[in-house]
């Protein structure tokens, strides 16, 4: 039944309803605006949960595919026969599989939580929520797009709302942060666009029939062509000799792979490209950092997996060590710097870098366990960092600071929030039973199969994590408390609900990781087959 | 061809003669006439007064407007002449074409007229 509905589009575009209602509401009524926004954010969550319930991993998301031709241009060609027409085909192609489903769920959950957490926003609610919902559309679209151009469109759709959300509702240095965000990510997506354009023009060629040939950005077409390039070249040459040479050479493979690595590396962020995200973490409003740290960073990893690793397994395999080394650098660098930060938001920012390093490790392992670990780590870190920034936002609202030195002993005035903070910290450092552990463990386990020394070094980083997390969390919750913090209120209901929900999800994954691994089961099958085939042969 | 060259040789000769006459006359004159310049003689004439200010005063922009009109209508004749020469061999449509062309210019004239370019009210 559900597969008869265009469920993916419904999920993606359900926030549009909210946007329309918001546009019609008057500017001043903060209450109604907020209710509308939260109500709208529930919609995709419910739909995606329904999808999750209906999802059968054995079918690998096939029933839900939606495919509509978007652009189909028939070029006028200088030729004698009318038969060999050529077109550029762009499709609205949405699909879901084991890779996307967990991240989609993560998106809808975190987005709702962030909507709830946006009580901290004090001005211009209307446009805030409109941008917010647009951002959500973009994020969900990214995880479901099956056409590279469509992917890019959604990817960019997250960029613009973020610029506004940071630039208007951020803290003191918001404009600079927004700018830096824009330029860095702009460069990232530009590189991605270059890679996609090269992909389309070299591997996007498809012969549908004698008279219909086209270039397209279809993921399936590109994947098929890349998996068996010789067949594609033969077919194209048979049709018209000129086209044979269009197909990719080895060097083109490498060019595209490295471009993709850089593009998604900026988003992830991989070590030298990370500076922009620190600023965003400190300057953006808390609910936006929840989204940013919880989801946007994951888009980088997702992209790397879907386009970098799956399309170019050979290159990925050759560069596995490089990836792993980058991962380890991320872990250590993030952890060490997190350790010395005096500002809690920066601690969390560096910890994000560190955790993303673990994802990189999982990816670099290129085996099922590692990849699953990476995926779980993505979801888990999304939830944890969302939770942490939710708390940060609440703290800041009450105390006006996030400096570790100025906070302390808050456990006494707000026990509930401190407890949640502690739980989140534990999850973050990978306490068994909480989600963080599963991700880290599986990733490291995966990597251990191929690169033992690096794994050992990485574990060192994980230990460092425990140190800095505990140091900062304890500095906030325990120790001497300043006088002015005595009368602080504990979490309000609207804050408590998302906190509890997030904690619940963290615990759920920690105890019962199968909620994620089950749909993922077949997600990597083709990749792994290909890997073993290619690398073995 | 001979005729063609000869004709222009004549033209050249006329031009040369035109140049020679002033040159010769002025050279002869130089031998005959007295030459006793003094400062008084060399002042600019201004009705017997001491000259005031610059001689090359800024003149009315109206002169420029006339020059502009001249350019436009003179160019018109550039196109009118070949047309006129060949008129007897051309069809009715050419007449219409020229009528359009000229009427466009006439509209320009009317424009200038209306904008009071042709009314001379100073100098």
């Amino acid at each position: 039944m559900i597969s008869e509905l265009p469920i993916l589009s419904l999920i993606t575009f359900s926030p549009l309803i909210g946007i329309i209602i918001l546009a019609l509401l008057p500017r001043g009524s903060s209450r109604w605006l907020r209710v509308t926004a939260i109500g709208t954010a529930i919609l995709p969550l419910l739909l995606s949960l329904w999808l999750y319930a209906d999802y059968d991993s054995a079918k690998d998301g096939k029933p839900y595919e939606e495919q509509v031709t978007w652009v189909d241009t028939h070029f006028d060609r200088l030729s004698d026969g009318a038969s060999n027409s050529l077109s550029f085909k762009l499709q609205y192609h949405m699909g879901i599989d084991g890779l996307s489903l967990p991240l989609l769920l993560l998106t809808t959950i975190v987005a709702l939580m962030a909507a709830l957490a946006s009580v901290h926003i004090k001005k211009r609610w209307k446009s805030f929520y409109i941008w917010f919902l647009l951002l959500e559309i973009g994020m969900m679209g990214v995880f479901m797009a099956r056409d590279v151009i469509l992917f890019f469109v959604f990817f960019e759709m997250t960029l613009i709302p973020m610029f506004f959300l940071i630039g208007i509702w951020g803290y003191m240095g918001r404009e600079k942060a927004a700018n830096r965000f824009l330029i860095y990510n702009g460069i990232g997506s530009a590189i991605m666009l270059i890679a996609f354009v090269l992909l389309i023009s070299t591997a996007g060629f498809s012969i549908e029939s004698e008279s219909v040939q086209f270039f397209s950005g279809s993921y399936d077409v590109i994947k098929a062509n890349l998996m068996d390039p010789q067949a594609a070249v033969n077919a194209a040459s048979a049709w018209n000799g000129n086209y044979g040479n269009l197909f990719m050479s080895e060097s083109m493979h490498w060019t595209i792979f490295i471009l993709l690595l850089i593009a998604f590396g900026i988003k992830l962020p991989i070590f030298p490209f990370h500076t922009w995200m620190l600023r965003v973490h400190t300057e953006a409003p808390p609910s936006i950092v929840m989204i940013h740290s919880g989801i946007l960073l994951k888009m980088g990893a997702y992209g790397l997996l879907r386009f970098g690793i799956i399309l170019f397994p050979e290159q990925a395999h050759e560069w596995a060590t490089v990836l792993a080394v980058l991962g380890v650098i991320n872990i250590l660098y993030g952890a060490v710097l997190a350790f010395v930060q005096k500002e809690f938001k920066l601690v969390l920012a560096y910890s994000s870098i560190s955790h993303m390093g673990i994802v990189l490790l999982g990816i670099a392992s290129l085996n099922e366990i590692g990849l699953q670990g990476a995926m779980i780590q993505l979801v888990s870190h999304g939830l944890i960092s969302a939770l942490l920034f939710l708390i940060v936002g609440s703290l800041y609202e009450r105390t006006g600071t996030t400096e570790l030195g100025e906070l302390g002993g808050l456990a006494r005035s707000m026990p509930f929030m401190s407890g949640v903070l502690l739980t989140a910290g534990m999850a973050s450092l990978g306490l068994p039973g909480l989600s963080g552990f599963i991700g880290e463990f599986l990733s490291l386990l995966g990597l251990f199969e191929s690169m033992r020394i690096l794994t050992a070094v990485a574990v060192l980083g994980v230990i460092l994590t425990a140190v800095y997390v505990l140091r900062s969390v304890l500095a906030i919750t325990f120790g001497p408390m300043q006088e002015k913090y005595v009368a602080l209120r504990d979490a309000r209901l609207i804050e408590a609900v998302p906190m509890i929900a997030l904690v619940a999800f963290i615990v759920l994954i920690g105890i019962f990781p199968a909620v994620l691994t089950e749909p993922m089961k077949h997600g990597f099958d083709t990749l792994l087959q290909q890997l073993s085939g290619k690398v073995g042969g | 061809m001979e005729k063609y060259i000869n004709n222009y040789v004549i033209v050249a000769i006329f031009i040369v003669l035109g140049i020679l006459l002033p040159v010769v006359a002025l050279t002869v004159g130089r031998m005959l006439r007295p030459n006793k310049p003094n400062e008084e003689k060399k002042t600019t004439y201004e009705s017997g007064n001491e000259p005031v200010g610059e001689g090359q005063v800024r003149f009315n922009v109206r002169y420029y407007l006339f020059a502009l009109m001249f350019v436009i209508f003179d160019i018109e004749t550039v196109f009118l002449y070949p047309w006129a020469v060949a008129y007897n061999q051309l069809g009715l449509f050419v007449l219409v074409e020229m009528a359009i062309f000229v009427s466009l210019l006439l509209i320009g004239l009317i424009y200038a007229w209306k904008k009071k370019v042709l009314t001379w009210n100073s100098i």
């Binding site: 241009t73 960019e156 613009i160 330029i183 530009a190 023009s201 270039f215 000129n242 | 209306k114």
Partner: protein
């Protein structure tokens, strides 16, 4: 396939009917001149603006009607469908074909929008002769139309000068503002140099082929191998001449000054119509050599490379120079330089055996039309309210005119090439074309300059949403200008959502063989 040596046919009344769009504009212009003269001095000249608009719309109607009629007309016996349906007048010196009609639609649409902006925002205080302002636009548009329709270099030159000379005057229309006269003078000088360069190049084309007909030049030059050096010289100068007209680097230095001094609608006119006309003609000339290229490959390759280098230079120079601008018009001028670069890419890709990139070109041109004119419309509203054209005039626009601010976001996103606007697809199509033609080096230049341009485009957004001028008075948007703003914004979004429609339209009416290579069977 061959270029037919057509005898000079007498001009007939049906030929005149083919020229209806041009006639109408000229007749309306003349009628308006007379009307303006006859009208009492104190009467408001806005009515002339409306009549101008009417003339443009009528002409547009005729162009579209002709385009459809031409496609539907039965072909003569034995004529290849790819080659037929071109109307050739005046001994094949004037062509009405798919490409020229499409371009004419663009010019006329742009002119309509520009007139609408003017009706809303032109002030008599700045431009005392409002009537002249309106009716001078018409011959300028006719000039552009003649340019794209001409298949003979003489006709081309006449059209070009008709366009140029009228725009020289239009730039200087702000009579009491020194900048305006200065801009006009600079434009005259650069324009004059540009026509001289162009003509010099053309004279070499003529020398190398003995003809001024584009099709003939292509054919003859392909046969006469030893005259290739002449063709090279010709191309060098023609490229430079058009380079100035389209403000492509390194010939772009005039653009910022001239745009700044000109009345805002005229800046839009220069940015869209003048540029598009020159680009379209350049496209034709370069493509024509594509045919030549099939015989003597190097010249086509070299010319294409030169165009691409010019394009790259324009993108880089335009974007980097725009980073420093605080004046909105200068910024848009330099953004126009960069856009000229993007538009030059499909021109320079050549006939790479796959297809021409005319669809990409026209699509981006349409997008550019709407986003640029939209931006100028917003600017004209704001400069009217603020009294200046500095970037800071946009400060706090969100509070003063929220919907206009929203529309401006659309234009800015499109200019920056971000989805889901037409600008994104325009650039994407061009990128894909470049990659298909295996000109990989131009791809990163295009993309990276786009990203650099975010900095100044988003600077506008920063002003609108994150700053404030302290003046919270609402800005009244004049009705007609508002129409332009919303029409353009809607068009930009529509092009971003359904880009295929325009591309289909273009390729339905366009034929390489007939429109670009002037072949005829």
């Amino acid at each position: 396939m061959q270029v037919v040596q057509q005898q000079l046919q007498p001009f007939t009344w049906s030929d005149a009917a083919y020229l209806a769009p041009e006639w109408i504009l000229i007749v309306v212009a003349i009628a308006l001149v007379i009307l303006d003269l006859a009208m009492p001095r104190r009467m408001n000249r806005t009515v002339i603006g409306w009549l101008t608009l009417g003339g443009l719309l009528t002409s547009l109607g005729f162009v579209i009607w002709r385009l459809i009629d031409m496609k539907g007309a039965p072909l003569p016996e034995g004529v290849n469908a790819q080659l037929g349906n071109t109307i050739r007048l005046f001994g094949d010196s004037y062509r009405i074909d798919g490409f020229s009609s499409l371009m004419k639609i663009i010019f006329l649409a742009a002119a309509v929008l520009i007139v609408l902006i003017s009706i809303g925002t032109v002030r008599s205080k700045e431009i005392p002769n409002k009537g002249e302002f309106y009716y001078l636009l018409l011959p300028a548009v006719v000039g552009a139309m003649v340019m794209v329709s001409s298949s003979d270099l003489i006709t081309l030159y006449v059209g070009l000068e008709l366009l140029s000379i009228t725009t020289y005057i239009l730039v200087g229309m702000r009579k009491y503002i020194v900048q305006s006269a200065e801009a006009a003078f600079k434009y005259v000088v650069t324009g004059g140099i540009s026509s001289a360069l162009l003509l010099f190049g053309i004279s070499y084309f003529y020398g190398a082929s003995g003809s001024t007909n584009l099709g003939q030049i292509g054919m003859k030059a392909a046969q006469a191998g030893d005259l290739t050096p002449l063709m090279y010289v010709g191309f060098f100068f023609v490229l430079a001449g058009f380079g100035i007209k389209i403000a492509a680097a390194p010939f772009h230095l005039w653009a910022a000054d001239v745009y700044q001094g000109a009345p805002t609608p005229i800046s839009a006119f220069l940015g869209v119509i003048s540029k598009a006309a020159a680009l379209a003609v350049l496209f034709r000339i370069v493509q024509n050599v594509g045919l030549l290229g099939s015989y003597t490959k190097p010249i086509a390759d070299d010319v294409n490379l030169a165009v691409l280098i010019m394009a790259a230079a324009a993108m880089i120079a335009g974007t980097t120079a725009a980073l420093r601008q605080h004046n909105m018009k200068r910024l848009l001028a330099l953004s126009g330089v960069a856009n000229a670069g993007y538009l030059l890419v499909p021109v320079g890709l050549g006939l790479s055996g796959l297809h021409t990139y005319v669809g990409e070109f026209i699509f981006y041109l349409v997008v550019y039309l709407f986003m640029n004119i939209g931006a100028f419309a917003v600017l004209s509203v704001i400069s009217k309210a603020a009294g200046h054209e500095e970037l800071k005039g946009f400060g706090g626009l969100y509070y003063r005119a929220p919907w206009t601010a929203v529309a401006t976001i659309v234009f800015v996103l499109s200019l920056a090439g971000l989805p889901i606007t037409g600008g994104f697809f325009g650039k994407l199509f061009i990128l894909l074309g470049a990659a298909q033609a295996q000109n990989y080096w131009i791809v990163p230049i295009m993309v990276v300059t786009s990203v650099i341009s975010y900095y100044f485009y988003f600077g506008i957004i920063r002003q609108m949403f994150m700053r404030s001028t302290g003046d919270d008075q609402e800005i009244a948007v004049p009705g007609t200008t508002g129409i332009v703003i919303w029409l353009s914004a809607a068009a930009v979004v529509a092009l971003g959502v359904m880009p295929g429609a325009v591309m289909d339209f273009v390729y339905k009416y366009f034929s390489i063989a007939a429109d670009m290579l002037f072949l005829y069977l």
